[in-house]
Amino acid sequence: MNLELLARYGPRMLEGLLVTIELVAISVTIGAVLALPIAFARMSRHRWLRAVSFAYVYFFRGTPLLAQTYLVYYGSGQFRPFFNSIGMWWFFREAFLCCLLTFTLNTAAYQAEILRGAIRAIAQGQREAAMSLGLKPHQTFLKVILPQALIIALRPLGNEIILMIKGSAVAAIVTVFDLMGATRLAFARSFDISVYLWAAVLYLILVESLRRLWNRLEQRMTRHMAITGVRA
């Protein structure tokens, strides 16, 4: 292990790790807020709402994240006069903010599909039971359907966050100094392959800690089901 190299680039890579965490945490959180209305739109009675949300979800799940990031970051440059005129150019000029926007839209599409699947997996009898108890539709959804659906969605949501952590590395290609970006810089200056291995270790630690945290969260959220051994 090259200690001099570690002393020179280690701090920068740790800063990059923080940027990665920031990027993922913000986009996953905003994505989660957007996911519920999108999931509703996918199940809506209105045909055009279904069509628009279907197109949105299909586009973001069917194209590479890298292409989406290029589309937002470089593509916005084509409309620079327009963004200038509405005073939004400061946003699209920043690679970090463009990545944040792209990742948010991307993860919202994935999370919406996870939520939709989970909501549909709840037995119809639950709805009928709630109705016969005289619960209003919004009460039925908030107190009966959603809590059960979230338990089903928990594991796929955890996987989605892990995919986001891994996917966020493309930010480095559009000049964001996340963990990957800092590592590329260190490699370009030192030509020492070991910097990539350090980055690998950091990513693995990040993903593994999230996985453990998520297992604990799942145990806690399903503790009322532990006696019968029923697992969602």
Binding site: Y58, F59, G62, T63, P64, L65, L66, A67, Q68, Y70, L71, Y74, G75, S76, G77, Q78, F79, I162, I165, K166, G167, S168, A169, V170, A172, I173, M180, T183, R184, F187, I193, Y196, L197, A199, A200, Y203, L204, V207, E208
Partner: protein, 234 residues
């Protein structure tokens, strides 16, 4: 109209460049698939092995390649493989060698693919009931016929949805090889943007081409799935 002309074929337009890039993307994905499947099957066998060392190392393999960003795996294989190759060659001669980015991309994507595929395969094996092996044994079938007449058809049916999903992910992941200078669809689009200054139009076009590839794949997958379930109809 001017924008449309940019997508025409020939020396003026970029249509042929994009088509060439698409062809490379398809070739890369198609070359990665058999490699990834074969390696994934080996890893799946190793994970079900009697030997502890084999189980531990195969589990480590899947944890690592499922946890690393695909981009990082590509860089490590590309630069690390180059270094390794050079070292190996230098023991016999002092010729300069370069690892082709196609091979590096294929190996890197194949490693990631196989890590996920081994999960799918292990799951598929678990879902074939022991009773089927017993029944085949009771009918006096030998090991090899049991394997390809009883186990394989079910295995294909059980593993197919997972593998199909991985194929769609693989198609999208190929975009990442553009960073190691492979002229795939993403890279060619990048070049076209540099020359035409029409980033939005070209990246949107690239997205639509990826989308088309996904849709075409989905049709193929549905057909294969129907074929694999032909024995399962009631």
């Amino acid at each position: 109209m001017e924008t449309l002309a940019l997508f025409s074929f020939g020396p003026e337009g970029w249509g042929d460049e994009l088509a060439g890039g698409t062809w490379l993307t398809v070739r890369l994905a198609a070359a990665t698939l058999p490699f990834g499947l074969a390696l994934g099957l080996l890893v799946a066998f190793a994970r079900r092995s009697k030997w502890k060392a084999l189980r531990i190392s195969s589990n480590t393999f899947t944890t690592v390649f499922r946890g690393l960003p695909e981009l990082l795996t590509i860089f490590i294989v590309y630069y690390g493989g180059q270094l390794l190759l050079q070292k190996l060659i230098s023991t016999v001669s002092d010729a300069q060698v370069t690892l082709s980015s196609f091979v590096a991309g294929m190996v890197a994507l194949g490693l990631v693919f196989s890590a996920y595929a081994s999960e799918v395969f292990v799951g598929a094996f678990k879902n074939i009931p022991q009773g089927h092996y017993d029944a085949a044994y009771a009918l006096g079938m030998r090991r090899i016929p049991t394997l390809y007449l009883v186990v394989l058809p079910q295995f294909v049916r059980l593993a197919l949805p997972g593998v199909a999903n991985l194929w769609l992910i693989l198609l999208k992941d190929t975009a990442l090889v553009s960073v190691i200078a492979l002229s795939d669809l993403m890279r060619q689009t990048y070049v076209a943007v540099g020359a035409t200054k029409q980033p939005f139009a070209f990246y949107l076009a690239a997205c639509l081409i990826y989308l088309t590839m996904s849709i075409v794949s989905s049709f193929g997958i549905t057909a294969i799935e129907r074929w694999s379930e032909r024995g399962d109809r009631h």
